[in-house]
Symmetry: C2
Subunit: 204 residues, 2 copies
């Protein structure tokens, strides 16, 4: 059995969204599963002394153009949300909580929630940092709203996110999307094609 | 007649080197010429509030691995120089001076010098910030060493570099390699394939 593709992403990352739309096809072609890891870049940027790409002089304007062009190339429906960036603490906690409830090997609902949250934010312009929106999106994929509402306030769920970020940092993950497969690290949606070729070739 | 690919690069940029090894094949496939533009990222980073990639926490280690992997993928002979990064002011002035001496449409010698300098630095581990090395590399492609030696001290040649950096910044160029074709901007060696597909498709 081949090892899965570890896929790290932040819900407010446009390139994370683009990656989330492409990674399943690549994984399927190589008979790999995906482990989805929501992270919060805000916490990671404190360690890497980074700032959100779109805030950087020159790079910010370029990156907005680059995101839109990459989405067009792959026919991905995407628009920049009105509120951007937003806190993704709640969305990440919701996914981590749901993953913790799922049986080993069964991640259908949490994966559906990831896609629903990303679509809400980058297609329907829904502010996913608002708890009400978060809960109704989760309900749309069959999650119990009141259970989720409680989980978002639960200290063990808060600890799940802290642990997820610490674990990502320990693995040298610093961006979104960030993929690890067979110990090899790939950063950025622009490395998805290289990851694909790397798996094709058996590595260089 | 199609417009050329404007190719901006810094001589101490590993991704610039990788780009310089791949851009001619891409340009030829699309019947495009290349205009080579040496820039000095140190000056540009002051505007973009950036630092050299390899100095950044986590990103630095990743980028060293990423550079080596990208070189392996494309069978590009490359090793990280012992002195890295180095000042590329002299190397850039040498190229800009030579370009200013060439007849319109004739850039064979300056292009040969660009490749010779990059090869000296990233293949033969020669410190191209040293004037003696710079001059002997230039002589190896037929440049008059004493003329170059004088040019490197010439205030009009110094002004050429300042103008080149200012012009690049005015065009929103902030990295290496950075390509502009038909008004479209592409940053990074990882965008070369996208540039290739963009030209293939007629744009998205």
């Amino acid at each position: 059995m081949t090892s899965p593709i570890e896929f790290y992403f932040d819900f407010t990352s446009p390139f994370g969204f683009i990656g989330s739309q492409r990674i399943e096809e690549i994984a399927n072609q190589h008979n790999r599963k995906i482990h989805w890891h929501p992270i919060v870049l805000g916490f990671i940027f404190k360690v890497t002394e980074s700032r959100p790409l779109v805030e950087l002089p020159l790079k910010g304007d370029y990156s907005l153009m680059d995101m839109a062009r990459s989405a067009r190339e792959y026919d991905i429906d995407m628009r920049m949300p009105t509120s951007f960036p937003v806190s993704t603490v709640g969305a990440s906690r919701a996914v981590l909580w749901l993953q913790s409830q799922e049986q080993q090997g069964s991640s259908q609902q949490s994966t559906a929630l990831i896609h629903a949250l990303y679509k809400a934010y980058f297609v329907n312009d829904t502010d996913i940092s608002k708890v009400d929106n978060l809960i109704s999106i989760a309900q749309s994929v069959g999650v119990d709203g009141s259970q989720l509402s409680g989980a978002l306030q639960d200290s063990t769920v808060k600890a799940l996110l802290k642990e997820a970020v610490d674990t990502a940092l320990a693995k040298q993950v610093f961006g979104s999307p960030f993929m690890i497969v067979d110990g090899e690290h790939f950063w950025g949606s622009d490395r998805l094609d290289q990851l694909d070729r790397w798996l094709d070739s058996g590595g260089w």
